[in-house]
């Protein structure tokens, strides 16, 4: 054991002697995740410039616009029918929000037309408005269904809502949903970073073999197993440090609630890091050089993370792919994070953690088996 620690210390010294590695291993992942959390969380986002074309000019549409204004997310300019396209394309507004003609009427009938958003940037900037508008419309439709089609009742309920209890609506349209999704994607990215850093650390073994220092270590009273264990230990240690620093920094600078307790995220991600270390080992034992390893890292990590929902919610993918993703540990981690964020208890993700740990065990055994077969200690002599 003391030999493993001795080797591990030397590994750490070798890795962090290069100042750039401190950036690559620790600062970059932490900065990236906290930046992502900050940017994507609407609380701290800078105001979005929104142009509104109100084709309805009714009470409902006007109320909706002032509601949106009150959310504080949008800098609203009323645009004329002829000028909105120009405003969008010139970048004067980030997007134009178009309330269709007779929108109020349609609400009263319970069948509103879809609200239209015109933008050149696509997705990102319009996420919030889509979400808010959908919530607001839904709320109106709730009133509609309460009134059971009776215009009198609708008007009364509506007035109540707007005048007295408008707060109700705004709290209903809270930021939480959006924050959760943003946080989830940020953790997805963090998972990718952990995987890349683990594989990079594991493949340091290959570098040592190429540079022959490995030869020297093995000719001392050190067994191949001790040598590999030291690498695994360092690898695991680094990912734990990454996770802890990310959680600390996020706790310090990001004030909003990401919907998940730190210790839960810590346990979920730590269990995942064992899998990441094991994947790193697998890549190491199946590559004969650093360049093959690098290729394998690209070919394995990016696609498997895509499939597992680290980049986008898994639900947008075809069913077959979603099933395939069940065979990837990242999938179960993302799922655990989603569950916790959706208000699930920690015991609900126990199974996920167990599955992730089984993946790790399986990968480790696979790697160990391959090592045994290829008699890897001899391969680089």
């Amino acid at each position: 054991m003391s030999k493993i620690l001795y080797l591990a210390c030397n590994n750490l010294r070798l890795i962090f002697r290069k100042k750039s590695n401190i950036i690559v291993y620790i600062i970059l992942p932490v900065v990236m995740i906290s930046a992502l959390m900050t940017i994507t969380s609407s609380n701290s986002a800078s105001a979005i410039f929104m142009g509104v074309v109100d084709r309805d000019h009714g009470r409902i549409s006007q109320d909706m616009i002032s509601f949106l204004e009150r959310t504080g997310k949008f800098e609203i300019t009323e645009l004329a029918e002829e000028s909105f396209e120009e405003a969008v394309s010139s970048g004067r507004v980030d997007f134009a929000f178009i309330i269709p003609q007779n929108f109020g009427q349609q609400i009263r009938k319970g069948r509103p037309e879809k609200l239209k958003i015109v933008s050149i940037k696509g997705g990102a900037a319009t996420v919030f408005i889509e979400e808010y508008a959908a919530m607001y419309t839904e709320n109106l439709l709730d009133i509609y269904s309460l009134s059971e089609g009776d215009a009198e009742i609708f008007n009364r309920l509506y007035s109540n809502q707007i005048n007295g209890k408008a707060k109700l609506i705004s709290s209903y349209v809270s930021d939480n949903e959006l924050n959760k999704e943003a946080a989830q994607m940020s953790w997805g990215l963090f998972i990718i970073l952990i995987m890349i850093s683990c594989s990079t650390t594991a493949t340091l073994v290959l570098k040592e073999k190429r540079e022959r220092t490995y030869y020297r270590i093995i000719s001392a009273p050190v067994s191949y197993r001790e040598y590999i264990m030291a690498n695994v230990l360092v690898n695991f240690l680094i990912s734990i440090v990454q996770i802890i620093s990310a959680l600390l920094i996020i706790g310090m600078i990001v004030t909003f609630d990401s919907g998940i307790a730190s210790w839960q995220i810590f346990i979920i991600l730590s269990s995942f890091s064992t899998a990441a270390v094991a994947v790193g080992m697998l890549i190491m034992v199946f590559s004969d050089s650093t360049s093959t390893a690098r290729m394998m890292i690209t070919l394995i990590i990016t696609p498997s993370c895509m499939l597992s929902g680290c980049f986008w919610p898994k639900t947008i993918m075809p069913k077959a792919l979603q099933y395939a993703a069940d065979f990837l540990p990242q999938s179960w981690v993302m799922d655990a994070i989603t569950t916790i964020q959706g208000g699930g208890t920690f015991s609900e993700v126990g199974l996920n953690i167990l599955i992730v740990l089984s993946f790790s065990t399986f990968f480790f055994l696979l790697a160990a088996n391959k090592l045994k077969k290829s008699n890897n200690a001899e391969n680089f002599i």
Binding site: R216, A220, E378
Partner: protein, 311 residues
Amino acid sequence: MNIVAIEGLTRKFGDIAAVDNMNLTIREGEIYGLLGPNGAGKSTLINILSGLLKMNSGKVELMGMDIRKGHNNLKKKIGVVPQDIAIYEDLTARENVNFFSGLYGCRGTELKQNVIEALAFVGLIENADKFPKAFSGGMKRRLNIACAIAHKPELIIMDEPTVGIDPQSRNHILESVKELNRRGSTIIYTSHYMEEIEAVCDRAGIIDHGKLIAEGTGDELKAIVSDKQFIIIGLENADGLDVSQLQEIDGIVNVLKDGNIIKIENTKVINNWDKIIRCIDMQGVRISNIESRTPTLETVFLTLTGRTLRD
């Protein structure tokens, strides 16, 4: 006492036997040279001795212990200087020696002391805190040695420690080998260079194709060929030459045909040049050049293997 005792050692890579049924003993306190051309099996033998490679068959005893029964205790007493420079570019010379000798279990002030001694020994003490990036090839070679000797091993195995360095560093290394030996270590020294082996080794073994083909002190080895001479004959066209007729001539030990050149190993005392020339002439082959070589250690090798030491 024998520090190394090898019996019937074989190690194969696929079909090639890198070490082929080798028998070899090395006595405590000697400097033993291993001489052989590229691919002779020197490094393979050393890797087996240092516990990096497994053998296919045979028996190896180091310091009286069978290496198959736990190499870890033995490894502590061995220092290996690998053929390729094996040091961390990102660590200073001192850190390199410190780390590698620490692997042998030494710690604290004793370790520090050993590191300083080793660095001083190879003449790198002034550069102890510099990174190997700034080192010349010779300095790196010397650091490569320091990393292997700081833990004061009983047996030091050096695999071509002087490859690709300047004469000054080479002399320094050769002197250190002798000094290490004076301080009590047994040394196995491999090289392509006959002069090096002659300069430092008490005894040497010549290996080729995984076999030990001759062994002895420098003089003993030279004695193998002292009564021999080599005749190198260039021919205009050797296709029609029947070598077996040459072999029948009295005094000829061996004939090698290499393209249009034939190399004849001949017994010095017998005067048979006329017969050789007549034999070639009668076969209708024209001679373009004749040259005779007196034996050197280099030719010992040629005699024994039919090959030169270096390509």
